[in-house]
């Protein structure tokens, strides 16, 4: 009798193992990526990572989506994916609310929903894979600049608009980070606002240099600001002497990194974002997680990840782009 049970258990185990690929993920899971916009380099890069992960756990993946970023174009794709009986949808939402009723319907029919890059209301998805939290972004920016200027000198921030929620949250974290003893020789002298306008950011950067001749470094946590500031520096006598970092994309910053204006800047790595989203989707479909806080799952080369509050998984520290790696990225 006892032998029987052991035999049965062994049989069940081996059967289970056969259906599971590496890391306890089922084989042949169908996963569809639905970005805000196809043919957009950022999402193409994320899909590259998503695809790599799907290959690792022997799933079946595809990317579909609208060519315009209209708020509702994604809905017909959700319905189509539902009709095709995909196991998981990985979506970057063009509208925080418009997709929710349709995603809810998908979840009712057993489809797992992961959002990446841009979330929907929490009851419209199982897990949100977030690029980075405010804390990480703010602290990483200060660390990068501190290294570039040798932890010494006057610094400034070139932000977007004075009431941009995300910018202000980051700046607050930066000010907090600067209180640490390691930065005692660094002084934040000015927060300027370029209003996410190329021209205005350019002249603000110019103004900063005139008003603070001893300025050693500038953080511009906005893609519009950093490229305008880099353009100004690259043609000014401050090129290579005043350090500039912030959030930018490799394609817009490449020439400034190569001509020595900018040593390094940061952003999350969209490839890793897609990679992590794929693993989250697979873990959901395989029943390893449901999206509750504290659950853990293995995400290939990114290691073990834990689900935080509200079903949010954070990708982690920013990726720094510099001369050594910038040519590997195109977005």
């Amino acid at each position: 009798m006892k032998n029987h049970k052991i035999l049965l258990a062994a049989l069940a185990l081996s059967l289970g193992a056969a259906a599971l690929a590496q890391g306890g993920i089922q084989k042949g899971i169908t996963i569809a990526f639905l970005p805000k916009q196809v043919n957009n380099p950022y999402f193409a890069t994320a899909w590259k990572g998503g695809q790599a992960a799907i290959k690792e756990f022997a799933g079946i993946g595809k990317q579909v989506g609208p060519s315009d970023a209209g708020a509702s174009s994604q809905v017909s794709y959700i319905n189509t994916l539902l009709a095709q009986r995909q196991k998981a949808i990985v979506v970057s939402a063009s509208d925080q609310n418009a997709l929710v009723p349709y995603l809810k319907r998908a979840m009712q029919q057993g489809v797992k929903v992961v959002t990446y890059d841009s979330d929907v209301a929490p009851d419209g998805r199982n897990v949100f894979v977030s690029q980075a939290d405010n804390d990480t972004i703010g602290r990483d920016e200060v660390k990068i600049l501190a290294k570039q200027i040798g932890y010494k000198g006057e610094i400034a921030i070139l932000s977007a608009t004075p009431n941009a929620t995300n910018q202000n949250a980051w700046i607050k974290v930066m000010q907090d980070e600067l209180k640490k003893p390691a930065y005692k020789d660094m002084k934040l002298v000015k927060i300027a606002y370029g209003n996410d306008d190329d021209q205005k950011s350019f002249t603000e950067m110019q103004g900063l240099m005139q008003a603070y001749p001893n300025l050693k470094g500038v953080i511009s946590p906005t893609t519009v600001g950093i490229s305008a500031a880099a353009r100004y520096l690259s043609t000014s006598p401050y090129k290579g002497k005043v350090m500039l970092t912030g959030l930018g994309t490799p394609n817009q910053m490449r020439e400034f990194v190569k001509n020595g204006t900018v040593q390094g800047f940061a952003l999350w790595n969209p490839e890793d974002l897609g990679y992590l989203a794929s693993y989250a989707a697979a873990a959901l479909v395989s029943g390893q997680i449901t999206g509750k806080e504290g659950q853990k799952f293995k995400a290939g080369k990114l290691g073990e990840r834990t689900i935080g509050k509200n079903g949010v998984v954070i990708l982690g520290p920013l990726t720094v782009f510099d001369k050594s790696n910038i040519d590997k990225f195109s977005f």
Binding site: S76, T80, N97
Partner: protein
């Protein structure tokens, strides 16, 4: 003086072709993917095109009368924004809906007055108000989105008729389609639209109130856009200033593909409805079969060309035949 002939009969050829194409598209669709001919998919398919279908009804009337309204999608955006603003300001929903419909009618009235009182071409006027109304939409709501509509209302946009797979807005569309068809094809008002579209001067001499008719058409077009805005807002539970961007092109494409002459005087409601569904079916079937976006865009483009070419060719064949008949009877061309 050319007498506008009975449009339903003269267009039977093109209408039959459209309806035939719908059947062909359904057949091909069912071959492309096994999920195509299922209730839920057909339900989604029709739900996805309800706003286009609604506005196409009034656009048919407008284009038959040889005018055009390019501001419809911007009117949708503006009305959606107003609905959002009012709801966010805690206005009772019936009042907010009434104000939204009133704004749509007002937008149409403005178009109509510019066209009829100042004698401006509707193409130019509505290109202007296309920008104007979208601008007002952003002025109302900015880049915010209002989403917390009560489930009772969003369900009217999103839900199905209980016990069926029929989206609730499609029922509203069916009722309005019947009304529009009756008005266009079986009332003196409808006949006056064909007369105005075919030959405005002649219609004037015949004593038709051309200005008043056109004014009414633009008001109806604005009103229908406002109704579509309500459907859109509830269907996506999202009021945004950029709602329905570009929708006017889909509407006009469907109207032309449906056999309505861009020069006025010809067309029917059934042809336009057939065209709306034909475009929807093709896009749904191709998406379901994972046909890449580029191909989808190319197919839509080819359909647009067909929409101008097809009815035009049909009309040309018809005219030459009529001329031959006229000549053989010895009448003036």
């Amino acid at each position: 003086m050319s007498v506008p002939q009975k449009p339903a009969r003269s267009l039977l050829g093109w209408e039959a072709a459209i309806l035939g194409l719908v059947v062909v598209a359904l057949l091909i669709g069912s071959r492309l993917h096994e999920a195509f001919l299922t209730g839920p998919n057909l339900s989604n398919l029709s739900s996805n095109l309800v706003e286009i279908a609604l506005i196409a009804l009034t656009m048919t009337l407008v284009v038959v009368a040889a005018e055009i309204d390019l501001s419809v999608a911007s009117t949708v955006g503006m009305c959606s924004a107003l609905l959002g603003v009012l709801w966010a300001a805690h206005a009772p929903m019936p009042l907010a809906l009434l104000a939204t419909l009133a704004l749509g009618a007002l937008a149409g009235l403005f178009n109509g007055l510019l066209v009829t009182r100042l004698g401006l071409p509707s193409l130019a006027v509505t290109i202007g108000t296309l920008a104007l109304y979208r601008g007002l939409a952003y002025a109302l709501l900015g880049d915010r989105a209002v989403a917390d509509f009560p489930p009772f209302w969003t369900n009217l946009g999103f839900g199905l008729v209980p016990g069926t797979q029929i989206p609730i807005p499609i029922v509203a569309f069916a009722v309005l389609a019947v009304i529009t068809a009756v008005v266009l094809h079986a009332t003196p008002f409808g006949r006056s639209l064909y007369a105005i579209g075919a030959n405005e001067l002649a219609a004037r001499f015949a004593g038709l109130r051309v200005e008043r008719t056109k004014l009414l058409l633009f008001v109806l077009s604005g009103l229908m856009s406002a109704f579509a805005a309500v459907v859109y807002t509830f269907r996506f539970s999202s009021a945004r200033a950029d709602n329905a961007v570009g929708l006017e092109l889909a509407v006009i494409a469907a109207v032309l593909l449906g056999g309505v002459s861009i020069f006025g005087g010809r067309g029917s409601v059934i042809g336009v409805i057939g065209a709306v569904f034909l475009i929807g079916i093709i896009q749904n079937a191709l998406t379901l079969a994972d046909v890449p976006n580029e191909i989808l865009t190319i197919v839509t483009g080819l359909l647009l060309i067909l929409s101008v070419l097809g009815p035009n060719l049909a009309a040309r064949v018809r005219t030459s035949r009529e001329r031959r008949v006229a000549r053989s009877k010895g009448g003036a061309p």
